[in-house]
Symmetry: C2
């Protein structure tokens, strides 16, 4: 048995530790040099939605951004795990209209919006959630644009061997510098493939996207365009009070940050040329948010306002049924940089 | 740093392990002899709702069961983390009526019922959930009966130094044979105190309740009465399709089983005289259910029908937004007995 990853976060209830969250993280430059790390960073992990900005590079290689004159807002939505607020749903409707498509072309499935106000709005209007409310609907719109730009059928664009997913896979491989294999593949929440690769490779991919180093000129330029779009429109990437949004707002373009399901956090500190990737071993999202906040506090040279935002996520209050503050999920100190 | 607890369960997505769940478990007899175990069983854990049957012993020591002629159904509800189905809500209303009280005396707070049908029913009737729907409302009714039997004020019965909670604490201490201390105390989801004590002590407590060994005659008889009530009315203890209910139904009185928040599972194999306790380090409930199913498969001598029920929980399918089967949360093999 390999050595256990270290404890990176914990839940404290009252005055006693209730839960422990182990994990690994890597901060890597574009040459693959590990700047900071803990745990097994060679272990392949599923990056899930944390790499939507990498998946969006298929829009660059297929030429759909130019073909449809896609806006920064469209690109931000393509990178998003949005909360289904009106601004997100309207943005995706517009994105699909630009493609001459509609929500009926989305194959992500429907789920209730993450945003409580949006859920309430649907309830009051007696409307069921549609695929537009799926947090991945922007990414799927981007993938539909890839199908159109390639002259491939839009139907079935989520399938592993459809030209769209083949192109998405190639784009990720080009960025992380590692092959993605059928031997380490699963189906994501929104039904597209997700590929496990070493944690440090995903971190390196973000460093390459941030710097352009090791990428072809078109991928380098595309990566800058995508990071610029996401960091200029952070509200579109997640939503109200969400870590990805709030952190990118605070850092004003210096930090690209994106979470993924089951405890993944990835991003880049662009001015340092560093990429990072975190995986909480057990998939706990609150713990992973505490972890990435602690990491950015330690290594991203936050100013006072940025630090205040990060501290809010580094220690997440646990409330009980009556709203009493009964504990905290918090990153451990002293392991981050 | 102490050695990490072993991996007891995992989530597999596609053909690759996505998450790993560590934990500890102890199977102990009434003398405290450890029959099977893994991980750090001396580490104090918060048992949360897994010890409602121990908390219910305060009803024995205060005399409220006799005083109010409480039924087996009342006692099963006192042990329950129920799903807010009509049968649970009506049962708690009746319990409170027997005490001359109403839902306004409950201090557990309101939350939406766990059962989807019950939630839908409330929505259709435009009703807000009340404290009756709180999964702990039966336990709180039991605690109110303790207050009345003691001649103590009912108001504030959730507070740590109220005579009710002092009595609950004493009952648990008597059963587990360990002091509960202010230095390891937190507030539970329903606002009563929860006390951390060694995992093996909670397992031993269940063995003592199952056998009566080490208990005063009144506690021994009360424990039998409580276990009989819960195992005769397993639907009241949890609800439709819930592990606690389905397992107790399958084992017909041989097994007392109860889950608690943040990955705790406790119970007793009554005919063997063994108690058990499991804590998933990171608090994942699905993983803890897989763990207890694997444990009972290994040590409870299940017949074919019981084994079928346990296998269903030992490996829990992971579905994505479109309902596709994309993975499984499963207990590891070979670590349980």
């Amino acid at each position: 048995m390999t050595e256990a990853n270290p404890i990176l976060a914990q839940m404290v209830r009252g005055n006693w530790v209730e839960n422990r969250y182990r994990g690994a993280f890597a901060v890597v430059d574009a040459d693959g040099k590990v700047i900071f790390s803990a745990g097994d960073i060679a272990r392949p992990i599923f990056p899930r939605s944390a790499v939507k900005s990498m998946q969006a590079l298929a829009m660059v290689t297929a030429g759909s951004i130019d073909r449809f004159a896609l806006s920064d807002e469209d690109l931000a939505l393509a990178c998003a795990s949005h909360r289904g607020e009106d601004v997100h749903v309207e943005g995706v409707v517009h994105f699909l209209e630009e493609l001459g498509l509609s929500k009926d072309d989305l194959e992500c499935g429907a789920h209730a919006p993450g945003d409580p106000e949006a859920r309430k709005g649907l309830r009051l209007r007696h409307e069921a959630p549609s695929a537009l409310h799926n947090n991945c609907s922007g990414k799927h719109s981007g993938m539909l644009s890839v199908a159109l730009a390639m002259g491939a059928p839009t139907r079935g664009y989520i399938d592993r061997d459809h030209p769209v997913q083949v192109r998405v896979r190639s784009a990720i491989e080009a960025v992380i510098g590692e092959p993605l294999t059928e031997g380490r593949c699963g189906t994501d929440g929104c039904s597209i493939p997700t590929w496990a690769a070493p944690l440090e490779a995903y971190a390196r991919g973000f460093a390459r996207m941030a710097t352009g180093k090791g990428l072809s000129p078109d991928l380098a330029a595309g990566a800058q365009r995508i990071f610029d779009a996401a960091t200029r429109h952070p509200h579109l990437v997640a939503g109200k009070d969400q870590l990805d949004t709030v952190v990118m707002e605070a850092f004003g373009g210096r930090v690209m940050q994106k979470g993924g399901a089951e405890g993944v956090q990835c991003g880049a500190i662009r001015d340092k040329g560093w990429g990072y990737a975190i995986k909480c071993d057990d998939g706990n999202m609150d713990a992973s948010r505490a972890m990435v906040a602690a990491l950015l506090l330690a290594i991203a040279d936050p100013d006072a306002a940025q630090a205040e935002v990060l501290h809010r996520f580094r220690a997440h209050p646990v409330l009980n049924v009556r709203g009493l503050h009964v504990g905290v999920i918090e990153a451990l100190e002293g392991v981050w940089g």
